[in-house]
Symmetry: C2
Amino acid sequence: MSAGNLLVAQGGGPTAVVNLSLLGVVEEARKSGINRTGKIIGALHSIDGIMDENFIDLGRERPASLRNVAMKPGAALGSCRRKMAEEDYGRIVDILRKYDVRYFFYIGGNGSMHTVYKVEQIARSVGYELNAIGVPKTIDNDLAYTDHCPGFGSAAKYFASVTREIGLDVESLPPPVSVIETLGRNTGWLAASASLARENDGDAPNLIYFPERVFNLGSFLSDVSDVYDRWGRAVIVVSEGLKDKSGQYLGGVNARASRDGFGRDLPGGAASFLAARIAEKLKLRARSEKPGLAARTAVEYASSVDRKEAYLVGQQAVRAALKGKSGIMVTLERAKGDRYRCSVGEAPLESVAISEKLLPSKFINTKGNHVTTAFQKYLLPIVGDPIRAFAELSGYRLAKKASTRRSTGRKIGKH
Amino acid sequence: MSAGNLLVAQGGGPTAVVNLSLLGVVEEARKSGINRTGKIIGALHSIDGIMDENFIDLGRERPASLRNVAMKPGAALGSCRRKMAEEDYGRIVDILRKYDVRYFFYIGGNGSMHTVYKVEQIARSVGYELNAIGVPKTIDNDLAYTDHCPGFGSAAKYFASVTREIGLDVESLPPPVSVIETLGRNTGWLAASASLARENDGDAPNLIYFPERVFNLGSFLSDVSDVYDRWGRAVIVVSEGLKDKSGQYLGGVNARASRDGFGRDLPGGAASFLAARIAEKLKLRARSEKPGLAARTAVEYASSVDRKEAYLVGQQAVRAALKGKSGIMVTLERAKGDRYRCSVGEAPLESVAISEKLLPSKFINTKGNHVTTAFQKYLLPIVGDPIRAFAELSGYRLAKKASTRRSTGRKIGKH
C-alpha cells in the first residue's frame, strides 16, 4: 500500500451522533500519522461532493473545533440523496485515483454500504489499490450483521423519553388519547423503543404498532377501546411505516381520500389518520404528535453509549484499513452474558448491502401490539442512560366531609 | 379574615413549569405559617376534584419530594377540561365553605381565570370570606395584563431549539423543505418564538406564519419558492391555528377533503397540509414535523427564567392573599430599560377573564411571514438561556485538480 490520502463522507439521513463517527475517523487518522504523509479529505454533501470534487481538508481543522462539531445535529460534511447510476461508481474510483485517495470511509446506512461495496469492487477490478470501509449509521437500526447501529440508541432514547413525558401530560389532563408517530418507514425498531417509557402497568405507551405486522384497523380500535376502558386514557405509538393489508401506508389511505381535492398524496400521517379514526369510531378526543426530524436532531436526548459507539466505529474503520482490510463494514458485537460489553467486528459489504434487518418476531408480543421483555433486554444497554424518571406526589387523601352546612344557591351573570 | 384552609388547583393544559407555580404556592404557604393553623389542600384534577371533594393534604408532602415533583411534566395535581355550568360556581363556593377554605389559588389560563373570577364574585355576594387569586399559566402567552405568561418561555425555547436543530439537518441533507407546526391555536406567540433559532440569513426558520393573519396559499407558495431559489432549502414554521379567508383551519381543509371517506375532520395538520401543497405545486420534496404535546412536556428544554418566574407567581399569589387581596391575577411586569428585570404585579380577574392577547402587529413583519426585531427583543430575556448553538467545520477548501490521469471506464454488475 502506497502512502496516500484519506477520504471520508457521510451518506443518508443524519443521526444525533453521526458526527462522532466522523470525529472517530479523523482523530484516528491523525493518531496513526496518515496526515503526516497524506491529507484527510472530507467530501461535502457526500457522493455529490465526490463527483464535483468538492473537498475540504479536515486535517487542517483544529482538534478542539472538530470535537465541538461532533456534537452538532445534521451531517457536518453534508449528505445527499443521490440516486446512483451504474456509471457513477467507476467515476468515483476515477476521482479517488485523481486525488490519490487510498483510504475511503463512508458513514451511512444500507444504500451507502452498497455504494462502498461497488466502489471497492471496481477499484479492485481495475487494480487500483484502495481500502474502502463502511461505517454504520442509521436511526432505523436495520443494518444486518451488527448487533445494532450507531444513531439508533439516541433516537430510541428520544422516543422513549418523549413518550414518557407525553404520557404524564395525558395522565394529568384527560380526555385522553394521544397517538405518537415514530420514524422508521420499513422497520419497527424505533416504535418498539418507546416501550422503555413504561415503568408500571398503565404507563405510556399502552400500545405499539409495527410495520412488520399488517395493520388491522378493527383490532387496533378494539385494543384502544380496551386500554381506555381500563385506564381512562391511552398513549399509542405507531411507526410511520404502518401498512394496511393492501400494502398501502396508513397515511396513504388518508392521502388517497384527499387526492381528488389536491391531486397528491400527503406525506406520512399514520398517527394523524389513526387519531381521526379513534375520534370517529370510539368517540374519544384523540390527538396526534409527530416529532419527525426532531427525533434524530435532538442532541439533548442523545445516548452516551451511542455517542461512544459512534466514535468507536469511525475509529475502528481507520484501524482496519491500516491493517489492509477493505470491502467490509465495521460492526458492533455484543458479548454474551448479563453485563453489556460491546466490541467491534466486521462484516463483508457484499452481504450487508443486500440485507435489511426487520424487528424479529421474538421482540413483538403475540397480539402484535407491544414488545416482549426480550426486546427490552436487548435495548436497555444500547440506550445506556436511564430514561429520565419523574417524581410524583405522595397524595395523602383528605377524608371527605359529610355534608355542606348550607347551600349558596345563587347564580350571577352569564358565562 | 378567619384562619382557615388553603386550596390550590391546576387548570387547563400543562406546561413544562406548571408544577413550579404549585411549589411556589405550597412553600410560601408553609413559610407564612398557614399550615400551622390550617391545611394546604390540593384538588385532584382541578374543578372536577373540587366538585367531587377529591382532595389531598399537600402540607404532608415532604419538602424535598415537592421540589422533585416541581420538575415533572404534566400537572402534578391533575387538570381537567370541564365545561363549566352556571350553577357550578355556586357549588364550588359551597364546597370551599364546607372545607373552611379561605384561600383559593387557581393556576391556569383564560378559562381558569374566568372560573376564579366567578367563584370570587359569588363568595363575595353571599358574604363568604374568601381570598381567591389567579396564578397565570399558559404556553400560548395569550393572557392580557401581564408582560408574558409562565410556561410560554419554555415552550418558546423548545420551538426555537428544535427549529434550529431541524434547520441543521435540512441544511446537511437537501432536498430541502420542512414545515414545522407549533402549538397555539388562536395566537402566533409560539410560532413567532421559533425565530430565535436564526443567527444568520438563510438559517431556519426562513418563514413563519401566524393565525393573526389570514392565510393565503398563493403568497405562501410564492414565499417558499423565493426562499428555495435563494438558499436551496426552506424551513417553515406555521401555527396550528392558521385559517384561510373562509375562517377554516388549514388542517380543516385537508380534513374536509377526506371527510367523505371517513366522516370526520382530522385534528390539526396545517404543516402536513402545507407540505403536501409544496410538493404538489412547487415539485419540491417537503415533509412536516408536528412535535405537538412534546413541546409543552420537554423539561429538557425548559427555560431557567421561566422556571423562576413560574415559582414567583405562585409565591406572590400567597403573599397577596395574606395581605387581603382577592379577585386578582398575579402578573409579571417588565421594568423599562435595557436590562431585563421582571417583578410581580396584579390585574383584576374581571378584566383578565374576558381578554385574549394576540401577537401585536408591531411583532409581525409587513409581509406577514416573519417577526420584527422588536419581537426578538421582547422574547430573548423571557427565554433567558441562549438557544443552544452548534459549531461548524472551518471548511478549508481543497483546490480542484485539473484532470484525471486515466479513466477506469469499466462497469460491473447491476445496481
